[in-house]
């Protein structure tokens, strides 16, 4: 993942982007509820759900490459878990059912995230009275994931440019040293953020 990749699409403009974040979040949840909990093998529900998603993808002008890339990243987990079901009676049918369900739900969340800025989704949860500690933590987390990701990349580049020996043990040590230093830097950054927030009248 690159900095800026995420939330890049949600800044676009389309009829789907203009819908209210609350409406989109609620409908994504209802969509997932319907697809997951409908008993039996409701082919028509899946067909309708698929058509709905396709409509949202087209109307929201979400590039297929984005959906494919993310789905390829996430689908193996679903297939692996569903694969265990292959080893039981009527396993193939169950396998198919679970893969269809999880793919539809996964795409629904991807569509939501690609058409709604994360801050709007967070604001919706704040309105639902989710405890403010959690929403503040989530807001800070989303804001700083990419800052820390970049910091980690810089640290690794610095290391790569100075290390010429390879080896698995070395890779583990340097990766965990990088993680350790990243934590230390995160706490120091948190301290600076706290001062900046206080200076601007937070709490």
């Amino acid at each position: 993942m690159r900095t800026g990749d995420f939330d890049r699409l949600s800044g676009n403009d389309s009829p789907v982007h203009r819908l209210s974040p609350a409406l989109k979040t609620v409908s994504a949840i209802l969509f997932i509820l319907a697809v997951t909990l409908m008993p039996g093998r409701p082919g028509w529900v899946f067909a309708a759900a698929g058509a709905l998603l396709l409509g949202a993808i087209l109307a929201g002008r979400i590039p297929a490459s984005f959906l494919l890339k993310r789905a390829l990243l996430l689908e193996p987990v679903a297939v692996a878990v569903a694969g265990l079901a292959l080893l039981q009676p009527s396993g193939t049918a169950r396998f198919g059912l679970m893969v269809v369900r999880s793919t539809l739900c996964l795409t629904a969340v991807l569509v939501l995230a690609a058409t709604t800025p994360s801050s709007d989704i967070l604001a919706f949860f704040r309105r639902l009275r989710v405890p403010s500690i959690l929403t503040t933590m989530a807001a800070l987390m989303v804001r700083y994931i990419f800052v820390l990701g970049d910091e980690l990349r810089r640290m690794r580049r610095a290391r790569r440019s100075r290390t010429f020996r390879k080896g698995r043990a070395r890779a583990w040590r340097s990766a965990s040293a990088a993680a350790g230093h990243l934590f230390v830097r995160s706490t120091e950054r948190a301290e600076r953020i706290y001062r900046a927030m206080s200076a601007r009248g937070w709490r």
Binding site: S90, R159, A179, A190
Partner: protein
């Protein structure tokens, strides 16, 4: 271990969500009691750190790589209550913004990775580090705790999947637990190496691990232990006990009584290779897995203690870094 949507049924989601809400509620209560404004940005940044740390790949055999779960790491860096909240935020953001783990399955994922993993992991750490008088001993305790957290979360995951009828216990338990007994080794090693790197850089951050500087409040109030314990035990009773003792009869009887047996009895599209899921030796496989998990915990402790002792006896500056 993030369960996607489409695998769990309504009752499993409901039970897991209620248990997670209870655990998170208690953690919120505890954190609020000692919360200084200064700590809020730290916990937000810790969530971002954990998310990023989970993306660092550690090369395993031939091209595959493992990564961190981080529940025990968070519990030791920030405290168990804080770890519950940090894991909660990480999992929720992953579910809603990155589609990693299901939105409805979030309750179950929270139970496994935000409740069981940090709380049970931390309990294991406290127990195992009690006799430890050296830094090596404590790092060994960390290793066992991290390993246990991965294995216990996987057992919870297997229980939820089988209670939902997605994957039968006799398959899911050995498969999930077996795989995570290996993944747990990576978790243990990474957690210890990261903590060792932090101790080297800033020993003041980790007073609980550096010998000679005890954490101020070493004992937790009994009420906390009881409430957290009740949540975890309730999960074990609902997700694991009935399945390990009475499957498949128990679930099938319930299915018949509640009238959703017809749903499960759909004709197979392809004749099943293992009819009636009585794979020869699978019953004993569950038992063997449970035994192996117990032995594994002891083995991990012994090996990690030996390694940690060797490591800490080396001169300072053994860990590369400071890039």
């Amino acid at each position: 271990m993030h369960i996607p949507d489409g695998f769990l049924d309504a009752k499993t989601i409901a039970v897991a969500s209620v248990l997670s809400a209870a655990g998170i509620g208690r953690a919120l209560h505890n954190v609020r009691r000692t919360l200084t404004p200064r700590k809020v940005p730290l916990m937000g940044l810790a969530s971002a750190f954990l998310f990023v740390a989970q993306m660092i790949n550690f090369p395993v055999l031939g091209g595959t790589s493992g990564h961190l779960l981080g529940a025990v790491l968070a519990a030791i860096l920030l405290g168990p209550d804080e770890a519950v909240l940090v894991m909660t935020v990480v999992l929720a953001v992953q579910a809603f913004l990155f589609a990693d783990g299901g939105v409805l399955a979030l309750g179950a994922n929270l139970f496994n990775m935000a409740i069981v993993a940090p709380l049970a992991g931390y309990a294991v750490f406290r127990l195992a580090s009690r006799p430890a008088r050296t830094e090596a001993g404590r790092l060994a305790a960390v290793a066992v705790a991290a390993w246990s957290s991965a294995v216990l979360a996987a057992i919870g995951c297997a229980g939820e999947l089988s209670l939902s009828g997605a994957v039968p216990w006799t398959l899911g338990f050995p498969a999930m637990t077996g795989i995570h007994m290996l993944i747990g080794l990576g978790e243990a090693l990474i957690t210890v190496l990261v903590l060792a790197a932090i101790i080297e850089a800033r020993p003041d951050i980790l007073p609980g691990l550096v010998v000679g500087r005890e954490r101020a409040e070493e004992t937790r109030p009994l009420k906390d232990v009881l409430i957290y314990g009740a949540v975890v035990v309730a999960g074990a009773v609902v997700f694991v006990l009935p399945l390990s003792s009475r499957l498949p009869d128990g679930l099938e009887a319930t299915a018949a009584r509640l009238g959703f047996a017809s749903r499960a009895a759909a004709p197979p599209a392809v004749p099943a290779p293992l009819a009636g899921y009585r794979v020869p030796g699978v019953g004993s496989l569950s038992l063997a897995t449970a035994l192996a998990a117990g032995l594994g915990a002891i083995l991990v402790f012994a090996v990690s203690f030996a390694i940690a002792r060797r490591r800490s006896s080396r001169p300072k500056g053994g860990i590369p870094g400071n890039a």
